[in-house]
Amino acid sequence: MKELISKITKDYLFRLIKDGKRLDGRDLLEQRDLDIETGWIGTAEGSARVHLGDTDVIVGIKMDVGEPFPDTPEKGVMITSAELIPMASPKYESGPPREDATELARVVDRGIREGEVMDVKKLCIKKGEKVWLVFVDMHILDFDGNLFDACGIALMAALMNTIVPAERHELGEDYPLPVEHVVVPTTFYKVKDQIMLDVRLEEEMIADARLTVATNENGDIVAMQKGLSGVFEYEETISCIEESKKIGDELRKQLDKIKS
């Protein structure tokens, strides 16, 4: 994707970042404006549209009844997909890179799954035979960087907004999806030894390394993923985790407002 950005812009960005500054005047560890709108899709059991600056994503949740996996007969199943639709970026012209969509879906999924956000045992209808399937579809409408966090927040918000459609399946009354933890990811990008938060597309394009840390409300780490070919020092990972906990607490406050 690097060819989308001119050498002059690149050099300018490098100089700015070296001085701890950014194109839009933010501090290196400052987030963009975050807007979360839930329940936006009437046909979905749960949904959220998240604007993180100009990055615009929708997550929709559909639920159905199906069979559990043989090795987890008492647990509901979550299936997560990400569609980097060609609408979102001029670079997706000839089909968006499959491995990018796969990594995005898997990292966002991992935070929710490993953070035990849903009590999947409560999604069991009949052990070994029938459980709730939770289909998560993430649709990227406008891509201005940092999809990991935008999608992670949108998915968390959509889950908090989801109503289990029990009536439609003749399984009693509808009820809210059992959400036990609030997990949010925070993604750091490293450019020329500076570590920055919530990058825009131009910044993402020149980054050397990426680190996503997902935490829960207890401050536990539940998932991490390093990406790109650059490296991190061990001490840098420690700082990122500490920063992630702080930002996670801020985000959880915004998410809690939705709930109520």
Binding site: I41, G42, T43, A44, S47, D54, D56, I58, G60, I61, K62, D64, S81, E83, I85, P86, M87, A88, S89, P90, E93, S94, F135, D137, H139, L141, D142, F143, D144
Partner: protein
Amino acid sequence: MAEEELKLIDEKGIRNDGRKFDELRPIKIEAGVLKRADGSAFLEWGENKVMAAVYGPREMHPRHAQDPSRAVVQARYNMAAFSVPDRKRPGPDRRSVEISKLMSEALEEIIFVEHFPRASIDIFVEVLEASAGTRCAALTAASVALADAGIPMSDMIASCAAGKIGGKVVLDLGKKEDNFGQADVPMGMVPTTGKITLLQMDGNLTMEEYKQAMELAMDACKEIYKIQRDALKRRYSTSISTFEETNDMEEE
């Protein structure tokens, strides 16, 4: 068209959702809503939610598909997995392939394709929530997105369906009317010239009913055309004011 199993229209001609036979569902359009795309439009039509984005003219890839005499117009109609009551598998199904083809052909008609040899003009429409009439919504939104992108066009296409429910010809079928009605005629036209660029029909109509349906739909297209133009005017005036602000700043 499945046969009618419920009362879709009463003796006074009032439909299930309270509309009269010749009444459209509410339509809202906003142009220029995406940053990356060269042009975009978001449209709500009843419960339908549709996003359209335009990229181009840009170099056509792969090269062997370039046309040395004109731009290739490629529309992609796609339904989000969560846009329908039963989750749709991601990716194009046969229905989407057909609609994408018909949209590409209809839009090619209004674009000055000969201005851009070897180029492609790509229109992406995402159906985010679907409730009958998505292809008309998609075509209507795509026209606005093309205009927003500044693509040279002869005019815009407005699109709408008419159909038959309970033996009566009505405008703009809703979800239940579509499922249990007797005929559906989605069409698209250039309202200023009357030229028909999209036309499909399924169900059962006599010649007389066909004429009634077309007349309803053609009138409605003129109404929709106004909504399209208003969206562009709002977008344009925003741009102008931004432009003026910029000028002000420069003068300081």
